[in-house]
Symmetry: C2
Subunit: 667 residues, 2 copies
Amino acid sequence: MFNPKAIAIIGATPKEGKAGYSILKNLLKFKGKLYPINPKYSEIFGIKCYKSILDVDDKIDLAIIVVPNVVVPQVLEECGKKGVKYVVIISAGFSEVGNVELENKVRGILKKYNIRAIGPNCFGLINAHINLNATFSKVFPEKGNISLISQSGAVIDAILDILPLLNIGVSKVVSLGNKIDIQESDILEILKDDEETRVIGIYLESLKDKNFLKVAKEVAKKKPIIVLKAGKSEAGKRAAKSHTGALAGENELYEAIFKQCGFIITETFEEFVDALHVFSTQPEMRGNKVGIITNAGGFGVLAADASESYNLELPEFSVKEELKEVLKNANISNPLDIIGDATPERYEKVVKIVMKDKNMDGYLIILTPQEMTKPLEVAEKLVRVEKVKPLVTSFIGGVSVKGAKSFLRKHGIPSYITPENGVKALSNLYKFYKLKMREENEEEIKEILEEFLNIKEENKEEIRELIKKGDEYSIKKLLSLYNFPVPRGYIVESEEEAEEVAKKLGRVVLKALNVYHKTDVGAVIIDPEDVREAYKNLAEKFGNKILIEEYIDERGVELIFGGKRSLYPLFLVGLGGIFTEVLKDVSLAIPPVDRNYIREMLNELKGSKLLKGYRGIEVDLDYLIDLLFKLSIFFYIHDEIREIDLNPILAYKDGAKILDAKIVRGE
Amino acid sequence: MFNPKAIAIIGATPKEGKAGYSILKNLLKFKGKLYPINPKYSEIFGIKCYKSILDVDDKIDLAIIVVPNVVVPQVLEECGKKGVKYVVIISAGFSEVGNVELENKVRGILKKYNIRAIGPNCFGLINAHINLNATFSKVFPEKGNISLISQSGAVIDAILDILPLLNIGVSKVVSLGNKIDIQESDILEILKDDEETRVIGIYLESLKDKNFLKVAKEVAKKKPIIVLKAGKSEAGKRAAKSHTGALAGENELYEAIFKQCGFIITETFEEFVDALHVFSTQPEMRGNKVGIITNAGGFGVLAADASESYNLELPEFSVKEELKEVLKNANISNPLDIIGDATPERYEKVVKIVMKDKNMDGYLIILTPQEMTKPLEVAEKLVRVEKVKPLVTSFIGGVSVKGAKSFLRKHGIPSYITPENGVKALSNLYKFYKLKMREENEEEIKEILEEFLNIKEENKEEIRELIKKGDEYSIKKLLSLYNFPVPRGYIVESEEEAEEVAKKLGRVVLKALNVYHKTDVGAVIIDPEDVREAYKNLAEKFGNKILIEEYIDERGVELIFGGKRSLYPLFLVGLGGIFTEVLKDVSLAIPPVDRNYIREMLNELKGSKLLKGYRGIEVDLDYLIDLLFKLSIFFYIHDEIREIDLNPILAYKDGAKILDAKIVRGE
């Protein structure tokens, strides 16, 4: 797809202003063979033009389709007959404007001939390294190491317009449009081993790609993937809907996916481009310790503030003595203020020294144009210093620093418009390293997975029955098949039985079955003095089948485990009560994940302090993590459970118990 | 100070590279009289040079001092004798490098001669409207409507360098340095009625200005004040300390001040400059409803996402019919995608129509350079449309949109590098309007203030005594002098007395006096069955004086009221327990504020939902607000209380009670 020898442009035209014109123009630089197809012309730009692709007497590797939407099916039939393997359908007018029928028709033809297709309603594709630009971009991109996948053509257009200013180029670029066939994961698979791709940028509005998580996770272990997700807000989702005909999916799901894949998640277009820039030019950053050099104290302070927000550290310089020699009386701290009158030589000397500092993992060099400052000369010096670790700059200003900034960029040193942006870029650089280093314990996942699948297989009939019943008693019974800790409990149908069970259990809780919002409607009686009386009360209101469970008399912390299936199964853990209901303080993930991931999820909770011993309440954290881990595997293997809600789970000093359990069955 | 007729430059020099050279150079454009002072020269740049200011045979309105630090006292003496009213001490080498003694000496001389001084260790001052540039800036700023106050000279330098690119100019600019005399509030007072100043930007590292709050609040009612605060992080504070010799104050105090003043608080240098730009060029934005026009759906989505984050609304267009006529089949929603092939004419027509839309308060016009896009022509059209409401643009890209962006800026339309920045600028524009409209109920403050001052006066002796004692019983007694709701309580000294009091009070709580962390050490017994026994227990451990209070048997919400005096008195309100201790969920303000402000403070709490009826627990919110309001006035008038901690306050269905009370006395 990215390396065709012969390309057909179906819908090529000599009429300026049409996509078929611009694309052919851009393709003229391509070194392979070009076959314009258009029944109206016999040649375009001096190249022979064919009535139909079937008339071409050559093997066609890739067809670019820019005909009106209604003609697309016919053209695809011809591609199929010709044996074309890859097509890019630029043409719009499909599901994005409600024309689902036409899109389905196209899908059928693609299947019939086994054609792989990008689009429709897309911007095309680029492989800059072979001068292949099958898009209608205004700017012809330079060769470089950034690859881009985007749902929006205009976003790519804008990036291609910006990149020359940053002096960086691209490798593969593809706009996926309505994603009728080829999805993000297909492209990621290709980019994974593409030697010309060092960093991947994805602009995304919605996913319908079941393979995404698996593939993206693998690729992100090798190469940084920067993601910009649009459609987070309600208003944004509305806009996304009318834009690409795809419902923007739930935020929480996307966030969980991106986090789990190890993506660099960016919040704004600016951060997205800044991140591409730093990954395109800088080496790996292997720690979070940054040295900041500035000729303006104020901006040093702002950079220090930003460092703290982005979890970077500013340790003391270990090369203090050498720095003192250069800076004489100056106060050697980090940020290091080399003062307003800093000369290019001072910058050079200082940067050379700090480059050898073992304390530091990366550097930010700040410059403001002051009276004595020579920005371009500083830039020239910086370019010449041997750099062994990441180094970014922020030359702040306008007129005076323009030339210096473009000089730096020309030599592969990012220059950000503010120190905060520079710090953010470094923090992203480090984040990738940290995520890459994260190791998943596949063994422990596999072990429990196998164990649980066995249990599931051995108890197939019973499990089906219990899920079908779906009441609290049955779900807890289901859970206990997997040895999950639930309170001992029995269904009783009379006062006598209730009393008998209570004798066996000690202090008890009585609950009506099959009642929603049990606590709110008074269907739960906790630790009654007179069990018969309690039974009678509940039975009168809610029927004679009453669940009696042992009362768990432990001081502990309440948690929630929830799960929901949509594009992927998604589970959440959180602290119960106020934390979930008022603060929405939950962490989400797609199973399976390992125990360590669960630990991190708990750590990310705002209320995580409660789990570490608060006001004398202790929790067995390892036990709790193990429990949540196994619950996530349990949810993972039970496709037939659409939603699950274990709330509360009471975690205490020497264990935990699942006190309430609800599920919603799948179709 | 900003409008001198004659200026002396003490330390002027013809030696390039010295501050005394650059400043004199910049001053050459000044239309008034210039008197260089330097014993070494008889003339500089063809202007007569004097040995001493005392030799000048003219009235000097302003002296700029650029001599070495040790010479400053002598020079100031001469200024004093000469009768100079204003000096700007550029010279460095004072408290910022630990030379506090020299700074104190200077302070003494200023006092002696009643001279007002800016600096030392500063960048100087500018009044662009009379070509007065008494700084060593590289760029000579254009005349404009932005005034700047900065603790850092380099930050001003950088802004002056950027402004020409944005095509905006400045009015008054001043760098305050070590702030030995003139503080932010002095400058704000001047700028308040300065007709050449439309927007004020403040870069701040620390405040030592007692008048700041009062003055700034007044000024911010008339003109937008944009603030960038550096030194928020621990690392930043360290850097700030070594930078200006001033301890960066507590974040929380600053945030409370800025919020209360009605400032536009910006988080990064970029946002700071963006905000200056929008306020410098755009009219008032009187609501939060924004219409977004874009030729790229993807960026429309990103803008919509940003709008939600910044609390802007994107309502439907009310001029749908007219828009439909222009856009034919297009889907008329907001953001309005006028599609990739949008011509300048389409932009023009659409913007003209939406300008008449009564639903909208402001506009963001997005453009990306696509195949057919003509950025410069679009810019030309936009400039010509009659604009009655704020309009900002984001022309996204690099090479293709450069010219269009500078054209827009030349004509007073901001063009931001990303749609997110544009949305943020609009949200700041609206925020100013909202803050300006906020009315403080001075009457209700005055009423309680007077009432409380009377109480204070009438009970002077008793109050002094109670504060001196400072135990819980005394503080509650103090509070009850002001009719604050505290549980009825008595000090008892024997089992018999305890029993007697309990008979009177019903259910009771017993507390030891003068014990810290009472609950933790077991010095509190709540609702005991046997009061004598309870008394005995406590008395044995903590002494025979025990406080017995009525037990408040109400389901409610626990709150905290705290207060602390530093530069200003500062009080906080928050939800008690986990919310304060784990989540640090508190709101802060400087008293006095009105009831409405307290209401907003409560609304801003993450857990505010709890106060609005959660799980059947109701709170009398008006009562609670009144209570907190009066407590803040109480704290305000009691200078002798350095810290106060009322925690918990139990708020319930029909009232509230202050259950525990601690204070720390002032010196």
